[in-house]
């Protein structure tokens, strides 16, 4: 029964996507809406991404330094460890999980509230494809802007690691920078950005899906918001595994 309802849910999700990716009623209005969503879902996430990244970069540096007991291991590996951790996993997957919480719950509760207060019905009555009008600008905004958040996270995280490393004396600036540049594989950035784009799509569409199908009142909106975050997180982890195997094997 659970498998059947999961298949049914997936079918509903695909049907919603079909509705979302239909021809917009008026491109100009959609464009303006996309700009608003970039501000709301993207720019307003810069702060949290910066704070978390700087602290994570710092912690990774300290943990790497304090676990390097063998004197034959060069200290510059601290910089390398921080760089690769930030590039490969943190700036895409962990930031994705954090955005699933922040942006995902925002999207699900906004659309869910619009559903229970009949605002979506009002759009439909006007002859507007409500799914496309409400969800497409959010998808475009996050898919476009989240890679910038990911790049910001990489830069700020590596900088945070450097600052704390130098401040606590576990690594010198020269050693850290040597490590950051050592055996650098540019494809890691492409890999992280591909993951970020896929995660942005998953977060937005899954959260919008749960918000759009809300029935009832505020209790159901809250439940949909929680489900959106949980399911987005699960699918981020699942796709992280799939994409890593596909792109790095």
């Amino acid at each position: 029964m659970k498998l059947l309802s999961a298949i049914e849910l997936f079918g509903e999700y695909i049907l919603l996507l079909k509705k979302v990716f239909s021809k917009p009623e008026k491109r100009k209005v959609y464009y303006q809406q996309t700009l608003k969503e970039i501000e709301k879902l993207g720019l307003q996430s810069v702060g949290i991404v910066t704070i978390i990244s700087v602290f994570m970069g710092a912690v990774i540096t300290l943990q790497t330094a304090y676990n390097m007991e063998n004197p034959f291991i060069p200290t510059y590996l601290i910089g390398l460890g921080t760089r690769d951790s930030m590039l490969l996993e943190f700036s895409s997957t962990v930031i994705g999980l954090i955005l699933a919480g922040k942006v995902g719950s925002n999207i699900a509760s906004e659309i869910g509230t619009m559903r229970v207060t009949e605002q979506i019905d009002a759009l439909e009555i006007m002859g507007i494809n409500s799914a496309s009008y409400l969800i497409l600008p959010k998808i475009v905004a996050t898919v476009f802007f989240n890679p910038f958040l990911s790049i910001l996270s990489m830069i700020v995280g590596i900088t945070g690691g450097w600052l704390v490393g130098v401040f606590t004396g576990v690594v010198s600036t020269q050693e850290y920078l040597d490590g950051v540049q050592y055996a650098f594989i540019p494809f890691y950035i492409t890999y992280a950005l591909i993951k970020t784009v896929v995660f942005a799509f998953l977060i937005t569409t899954i959260s919008a899906f749960y918000g759009y199908r809300v029935q009832g009142g505020s209790l159901e909106v809250g439940r949909a918001s929680t489900q959106a975050v949980v399911m987005s997180s699960i699918f981020i982890l699942l796709f992280n595994l799939i994409l890593t195997q596909l792109l790095l094997s």
Partner: protein, 249 residues
């Protein structure tokens, strides 16, 4: 004019509307009355196409509406204005943006022309100097009036009102009723109002349809509602102590 023939609708096997046949006339306020749960909101939502019907036909003037696809329905929906029970104004938009929204979506007017139309509609519903307020900043009565202004922005041929007086004090309720009646007559609109407010019925009921247990139980005007010998209608109309005394029951 809107004609409904043999309309049936059920949810999970439970028949909610049973062979409803009715004609809603142009330039008149057509009221659907009935107890909570009698099926009147479902009937309204079936007529505007928010619910798919199980049987019967719906005509908007000479066009059969129920078998049209989404894009074909869009053309008719652009001639529809709807006032929802909770007003259903867009929370993130100001009063002015709410009324301008249908103009943005469906006209090629310049911003000045749209603004002129918005101000005309707001003036028509007696909303002055509130263009830049958000729905959360205005009263329930004002919200209803803004929703009416949005509903008439595109000069609709059909106006639907779901419980327009719910949550309003009796004085404001009369103002909203009169406004709907004036607009209906001024623009020769086919107006359908869902209500269980007997003051509305006696004030503006050009044509009244009584729905009971999903069936059309009685049809007439406000003038002959008091003289009807229909038992269920009398139980509904004269349900309060005051009205029973007036009727001499």
């Amino acid at each position: 004019m809107i004609v409904v023939n043999d309309l049936c609708k059920s949810f999970d096997g439970r028949l909610v509307l049973d062979s409803i046949t009715a004609t809603f006339e142009k330039g008149k306020t057509n009221l659907i009355i009935g107890q909570s749960g009698s099926g009147k909101t479902v009937l309204l939502k079936c007529i505007v196409g928010l619910h798919e019907i199980d049987g019967g036909v719906i005509f908007y003037n000479d066009t059969r509406f129920d078998n049209l696809d989404f894009n074909q329905k869009k053309k008719i929906r652009q001639k529809i204005g709807m006032l929802f029970q909770g007003a259903a104004l867009f929370d993130s938009a100001t009063v002015e943006e709410n009324v301008m929204f249908p103009l943005d979506m469906f006209t090629e007017m310049t911003h000045e022309e749209k603004l002129e139309r918005v101000n005309f509609c707001l003036k028509r519903v007696n909303i002055l100097n509130s263009n830049h307020l958000y729905p959360a900043e205005i009263s329930g009565g004002m919200k209803k009036r803004v929703a009416i202004a949005r509903a008439i922005a595109l000069n609709p041929e059909f106006l639907f009102c779901d419980e327009p007086n719910s949550g309003l004090d009796p004085k404001t309720a009369v103002v909203i009723d009169q406004l709907i009646k004036e607009i209906t007559e001024e623009y020769n609109i086919t107006t359908i109002i869902n209500t269980h407010d007997m003051n509305s019925v006696m004030g503006i009921g050009d044509k009244v349809i009584f729905i009971h247990q999903g069936k059309k139980w009685w049809e007439g005007s406000k003038d002959n509602i008091l003289d009807s010998d229909n038992k269920e209608l009398n139980e509904f109309v004269f349900s309060t102590e005051l009205t029973r005394k007036i009727k001499g029951l």
